[in-house]
Amino acid sequence: MTEPVLELRDVNKSFGPIDVLHDINLTVKAGEVLCLLGDNGAGKSTLIKTLAGVHKPTSGQMFMDGKAVTFDKPKDAADRGIATVHQFGGTFPLMTIGRSFFVGVEPTRKIGPFKVFDRKTANETAVKAVQEFGITRIDDGDRLIGGLSGGERQSLAIARAVHFGARVLILDEPTAALGVKQASHVLRIVLEAKKRGIAVIFITHQVTHAMAVGDHFAVLIRGAVAANFMRGEKSREEITDLMAGGEALADLDTAMEGYMETHEGHPPQPASRATVA
């Protein structure tokens, strides 16, 4: 098959005496969604930051299109087409859609000797870019970012990254703060990005969301890749178990869900939970 867009070989990262990442080996190909699963503190954020050029690996190598790369600063990663979208979209609530879309790369035109921010082009391009991703509710580039829903903000941020030529899209818990419907919008946009041949790294701890879009899964436990498997190789329960470090959390999870269904959505009392575990 095609060469991976991004590959990590034996990447280690430690902060002083604390080892955060151990021998991470990961590959992601164009048009593929790699789901990075892991509990809190598993090293997901450090891994993302390493990919985005915020941290430099202590040892190990990163490759893009088969060539070794090193990132000294986030800009280096961005210039190579690695874009990170954070949980809240990393956008500016009080800026207009058009302005925030083009932060740092403002379109300009000349009026006499003066460089002028081209608001019309900015707004039109921004609106067109999100609408192509199927978010047709955004139709006015003068609206403020803060007035958009969480899902719309995420979508806008993803559309922005793709518009500016992202080849690897890192999505840091894009669905964590969203409701069910909003999350499904974002998942659809992830699939759209994949269809356009972008390599997507989707970080989440919601197994259902991961299973909906992922082609390839990696479970991170205490800084190491505990499992690396393709779509369909493991069930939801197995993945949940892995994330919890092998404890029978899946049983607990299904038991809880069963309980909640029969008890009008209330989780069981701590006492009953203890008996299940």
Partner: protein, 349 residues
């Protein structure tokens, strides 16, 4: 009035393209609240103090005050939009005035040398502020307070050391007097035109040039802005230097007008300039605001400041009105900002 409209068209012209068609676009403008505030204040004082308030003398009285505050309020506004604050202007104004007066008055050097040195003082203090804020990570409320006291002390010490006095006289040549310290028609200070020019330049920077987008972005979210490739450090230092320069400009023009400079004075500018900016709809935490709003806020504040003398009220009441106005302005701006955020997002699922 001629000058007032001049200022307004200078700023609206620059951002006229953004003036919207719908209610939503209108309410989204940061100065939506301050327009109402200005109207209310103007109507109130015209009604209470009678026709004198709308005669040229009435206009001159607040325009002269507005021009001086306005020149510093504009860069302070830019800084606040970028999420920073600069209180050191209160010390830079007398320091630069005295620098000019000592060099061109006490030592008799040509005006150009004194003016250049005074502007240099402003730019230097601004650069130090910006550098310290970035390097130490101490909030920009504290750093400029530090530099303010340092500059105040240095001004006093050096003035006494060099001239043996805490004030200095200077008689500028007609050319310089005409440029920065003249009264036009016997009552309109030439600084009003400088204010208009400053407003036009700052409006261009903030609303028209791509640089303005960076200012909003830095004020909105500094880390995202840096990740987007904006040179945030250079931007912050430039903005602090701009505010230092504007303060020096006001200091020099005061020295030109009064033909003397004192060690003290200028502290009133600290709070007045911040109030102008806040009344004008700039968000205290950054990321939101407009030059047109700052200009309106400046006019509102100076109208209250001066208008009180045209009424029969005790002038001390002016402070009460200003206090109430500030509170009202912030409340109103918050309301308008909420409307701006929620407008046309009703269709949310």
């Amino acid at each position: 009035m001629a000058t007032a409209t001049r200022t307004d068209t200078a700023t609206t012209g620059a951002q006229g393209q953004a003036t919207g068609r719908s209610f939503g676009a209108l309410v989204r403008r940061p100065e939506a609240g301050s327009v109402l505030g200005l109207l209310a204040v103007f109507i109130f004082f015209t009604a209470v103090s009678g026709p004198i308030f709308v005669l040229p003398a009435g206009f001159a009285s607040w325009l002269n005050v507005a021009a001086e505050i306005g020149i510093v309020a504009l860069p302070i506004g830019l800084l606040m939009i970028a999420g920073e604050l600069d209180l050191s202007i209160g010390a830079v104004i007398p320091a630069s005035a005295l620098t000019f007066a000592v060099i061109s008055g006490f030592y008799g050097a040509p005006e150009i040398v004194g003016v250049a040195a005074a502007f240099g003082v402003g730019l230097l203090v601004g650069a130090i502020n910006g550098f310290l804020v970035l390097r130490t990570g101490v909030p920009s409320l504290i750093v400029p307070i530090g530099t303010m006291f340092a500059v105040m002390g240095l001004t006093l010490g050096l003035s006494v050391l060099l001239t043996g006095a805490t004030s200095s006289n200077v008689v500028p040549s007609p050319f310089w007097k005409g440029l920065m310290g003249q009264f036009i028609g016997g009552m309109f200070q030439v600084t009003i035109f400088w204010w208009a020019a400053f407003a036009a330049i700052v409006a261009y920077i903030l609303h028209v040039s791509p640089f303005g987008n960076w200012v909003y972005a830095v004020g909105g979210d500094k880390i995202s802005a840096r990740n987007a490739g904006i040179p945030t450090e250079r931007l912050t230092i430039s903005l602090f230097m701009l505010s230092g320069f504007a303060a020096a400009f006001v200091g020099v023009s005061q020295a030109m007008v009064y033909q003397s400079a004192q060690v003290a004075g200028g502290q009133a500018f600290i709070f007045n300039s911040i109030m102008c900016v806040v009344i004008g709809g700039v968000l205290l935490t950054g990321g939101f605001g407009s030059v047109f709003g700052i200009v309106l806020g400046t006019i509102t504040l100076s109208m209250v400041n001066q208008g009180i003398y045209f009424t029969g009220f005790d002038p001390n009441l002016g402070s009460v009105i200003i206090g109430a106005l500030l509170l009202l302005a912030v409340l109103m701006n918050d309301t308008f900002r909420q409307m701006a955020l929620s407008y046309s997002s009703k269709k949310k699922s």
